[in-house]
């Protein structure tokens, strides 16, 4: 689950269900692709066979990685039936759940780890989502988060007909504070804005310009305005690992 486009006069266009973005990132639909996921999973060093939930699993590339490269038992959560159908093909051994990050349909303490990549800002309620992740994580479990953040607290993007992670970005300080309030202890925090720039650059090389890329999903005027707004956007990308403290149940 990554970015949602919504036109006022048409059915919602779900950007993360489009093939164009996934093709640029090896199917993973986010800055850094699976390379960043590997780095963070290696750091966590989950025991073989541990059950790890991907919140916003999309087409299931991380689920496949969890099973085939790390010997873990993957579970996936996504609100999109279309994405879950792809995930079922990509990672046949994964347990899949349709639902929202704000109401995870799993029991307390069910998972040794949670991965949620480029999703949190889209959930609509960061506090509720983190509380749910905390609930379904077992004591001592690890949470891996990557997402967009905003360098300027007051930034209000002019993104016509576009609802996406780009327009819901929050300051990094607010995100880490929410992680702590949910009962997690921060273990690792890295600024990976280089990966966001890399993806934007790859879009230019692959589609000719950012405006042409947005033109795949938006009308010409909206694509131009979106490109202009994002050209000056004070956005970054973070990766963090947090632990559920053992005394929390």
């Amino acid at each position: 689950m990554n970015a949602l486009c919504r036109r006022l006069d048409a059915p919602p266009i779900t950007l993360y269900e489009q093939d164009e973005l996934g093709a640029l990132t090896g199917g993973a639909l986010r800055p850094g692709g699976l390379g960043l996921t590997r780095e963070l999973l290696r750091f966590c060093d989950f025991a073989p066979g541990a059950v790890v939930l991907d919140v916003g699993c999309g087409p299931g590339h991380t689920l496949e990685l969890l099973a085939t490269e790390f010997g873990l038992r993957p579970a996936g959560l996504d609100p999109s039936a279309a994405m879950l159908a792809k995930a079922a093909q990509q990672a046949p051994t994964a347990a899949l759940h349709q639902g929202l990050a704000t109401a995870i349909p799993c029991r307390d303490g069910a998972f040794a780890g949670i991965v949620s990549e480029c999703v949190l800002s889209l959930t609509g309620d960061i506090e509720a989502s983190l509380a749910e992740m905390h609930r379904v994580l077992r004591p001592g479990g690890r949470l891996i988060l990557t997402d967009i953040y905003c360098r300027q607290p007051q930034w209000q993007p002019d993104l016509p007909r576009l609802q996406s992670c780009l327009s819901h970005a929050q300051p990094l300080e607010a995100i880490t504070a929410a992680v702590n309030r949910a009962g997690f202890a921060l273990v690792l925090l890295r600024d990976r804005s280089d990966l966001l720039k890399q993806l934007a650059g790859q879009i230019i090389f692959s589609f000719g310009s950012l405006e042409r890329f947005w033109g795949l999903f938006l009308d010409a005027d909206a694509a131009r305005r979106t490109s202009c707004a994002l050209a000056a956007a004070p956005l970054g990308y973070y990766a963090l690992i947090a632990a559920k403290e053992p005394h929390h149940g």
Binding site: K197, G201, I204, F205, S206, G208, S209
Partner: protein, 69 residues
């Protein structure tokens, strides 16, 4: 998936191999980032032709993107 390519028919040939260039995807390292770009390449030795439109056009656009944020 790409809808844009810098690979176009060219009169240039690889002098070392004396072979015509062919379109291929190549990895370009630029300002500490790696990009995949479709360019004309010698199928023999891998020599890559970087056209002026890439060097002074898209490279500049990407450079500004990488440096400004």
């Amino acid at each position: 998936m790409s809808t844009f390519s810098f690979a176009e028919a060219t009169a240039w040939q690889c002098a070392g191999c004396n072979r015509p260039l062919e379109p291929a995807e190549v990895k370009v390292t630029y300002l500490n980032s790696v990009f995949t770009v479709e360019l004309m390449v010698c199928p023999g030795c891998g020599f890559v032709l970087v056209p002026e439109s890439l060097a002074v056009g898209k490279m500049l656009e990407v450079e500004q993107l990488l440096e400004d944020k």
